[in-house]
Amino acid sequence: MIARAVLFASLLPLSALAQLEVYVVNGTTETPVGAIVNITASPGDTVTTTFSVRNTGSAPAVLNTLSLAGTGFSFGTVPQLPYTLPPYTGSPVSEAQFQVSFSPTAVLTYNAFLNVNTIEVILQGNVTQSAVLTLAGSSTPITAGSIIDFGSVLAGETKLLGFNLSNPGSSAIPVGALSVAGAGFKGPIGASAPLSLAPGQTVSFQVEFLPNSGQTFQGTLAVDQRTFVLTGQGLNPPLPTASIVFGSSVGQSAQQNTVSIPLASASQVAGYGTLTMTFQPSVQGVEDDTAVQFLSGPTRNATVTISPGDTSAQFDGGASDLAFQTGTTAGTITFTLTLNGNSTPAAQATLTIAPAAVNLQTVTCVRLLGELNVSAIGFDNTYSASELGFTFFDKTGAQVEPGAVQVNAGSDFQSYFATTQAGGMFGLLAAFPVSGDTSQIVSVNFQVTNSVGTTQVTGITIGN
């Protein structure tokens, strides 16, 4: 007999030196199973038990058989068979795990046979009557482990869900614990444990979901040993509607204006964004006017922030408005506000700078030795200035012959505007070398014409 046994052992393949063991997994704890595994549940509940299989031998082992026979039990997740198990290293990676669900429908005793290769385990389902949990307005029992979803709720607001605990049985059911746990959830409201449910009795209570931010919240409702997953999505309230308001709605060149972003109501949440300024000249051939810019920070982009309680967006430095200038080129300045990274503009506003006659801010004339100098500072937002006119007057008020002097300076202005980086601004110096007594000439009229009209400054006193 001994000799045959030795012979048999020598004929076994190497894998036969492997040995399988089955464990019950509870969280991170694994306990070797005995011949019987007890599982407790209530009618309507589904209790899932996780098992692991280890190869405690020194060579790889193959898991070929995984079977379950018995009412009320079913496999959940199982490995694909055959499954080769390496020698157990102490790491769950070297295990095979599977799940068995127990779903009793009545207060009975349930049994099933679980076979893992040649290992046989009896699963014994113990069923106890417990209080039935339902949502208010529903007769469908909620099984242990189920997810109860509160849906989406704005941060700062609350949502209540009503529950019923009932006893459908013929004897009283004690409820020793009824609790709610988890950030964002509060309760139970309206009932407290311990309590005893008489046959046919129902106790109602509520659970409150009150998110304080725009994130997912998860909690637990526990009824004795059974737990139910509470979940809800907090939502950030939307930013109030923003608008773009100008300090002055008059669109003109060479203006310093302000822009602000009032909110339709005090914001409940923080936000951020960008106010972008773009300029589209209406002058043919002109692409931009660099003087169209914000007067602080980046020239065409401004960061805005919104804090809870704000009634208008804040610019850098906490200011509620931002200064900008309109340049000296006709066109359209567009302000676009984007918030919270959303590419769809939250607001947009335009300021149209209409073409205008030449604006002369200062015109002076000085008498030098043998020369009269007429200086003009102004802008032409059409870039089309052409005719210049000078008319000099003597002490008697009479025009100095030959009267109005017209100069077609169109090509000179075109050349200037084509090369300058100053938009439509210009400084004009007209020098008049004079033969004779310049003191006889006391004043001058100056005019300049562009595509919109003629601008004239009269009675310019000639200074020394």
């Binding site: 602080s296 000179d412 007594d437």
Partner: protein, 259 residues
């Protein structure tokens, strides 16, 4: 642009030649002691790149500039190009320009010395230290070739003290009731100071023009060009411009100096 034309009058022959260029406002000293050109006109400005660094103080008349560095006083032309310099004591300086802007005064706070730039050379003014003893000089002006004006603060009141530039003798002293520092005498003879509503431009004839302005808490005034005064926020370095040209007095924000 060179448009040339000729016409005859009874007694005169007049020709015209004209040029176009971006209008110059002047030069400003930013909060980082750098000097920048400013072109533009009322309501539309462009600040240019740095033209000078290390400025302790700087001012421009439109045709002349003065820059005080740690150890030098530099004179610049209308384009900001240095044309002369001289040694100077450390510390701040105050500047004043003659009408027309071609001559200037520099007052060195550390030593109480007064120097004239007459358009060709520097000249020291024999200013007796006792002349301004007990006073803090707020602003200076070059009233004419023989007269320097000091706005000084004495016991919370401002006074205008006129001093001969050839002898250093005090010619007159006039109280400036209602005027508080900072204040600035401009080459045109205007006096600029602040009140609760903004800035006031007191013309040479005494007429005052109130200019609405949201002023920084602490600021400095300096002439930045012909008819323009720089207002510099001493805390943030932000720059503003006051136009003091008659009939055009207004307060503007200068575009931030961007590096």
């Amino acid at each position: 642009m060179k448009a040339l034309f000729t016409f005859l009058s009874i007694n005169l022959v007049i020709c015209a030649q004209s040029t176009l260029a971006p209008p110059k406002v002047g030069f400003v000293q930013d909060g980082r002691s750098s000097v920048h050109a400013v072109v533009g006109l009322a309501g539309n400005f462009l600040t240019g790149p740095t033209v000078s660094t290390g400025a302790v103080a700087a001012a421009y008349s439109g045709s002349l500039g003065l820059i005080k560095t740690d150890a030098q006083l530099i004179v610049t032309d209308a384009n900001g190009q240095a044309i002369a310099n001289t040694n100077a004591p450390g510390g701040r300086a105050l500047f004043g320009f003659a009408a027309g802007g071609h001559a200037a005064l520099a007052y060195f706070e550390a030593t109480g010395a007064l120097v004239i730039w007459n358009g060709r050379a520097f000249q020291s003014v024999p200013l007796d230290a006792a002349t301004l003893a007990g006073s803090m000089v707020v602003s200076i002006a070059f009233e004419d070739s023989n007269l320097a004006a000091f706005v000084v603060e004495r016991q919370d009141a401002l006074w205008k003290v006129d001093v001969r530039t050839d002898t250093g003798a005090v010619v007159s002293q006039t109280a400036l009731p209602g005027v508080t520092a900072p204040a600035l005498l401009v080459a045109s003879g205007d006096l600029v100071y602040a009140n609760t509503r903004g800035l006031v431009v007191r013309k040479a004839d005494g007429v005052e023009k109130q200019v609405a302005a949201h002023l920084p808490k602490n600021f400095a005034l300096e002439q930045m060009g012909d008819g323009w005064v720089e207002v510099r926020d001493l805390a943030s370095g932000r720059l503003y411009a006051l136009c003091v040209q008659s009939g055009h007095e207004a307060y503007y924000t200068l575009p931030e100096v961007r590096q």
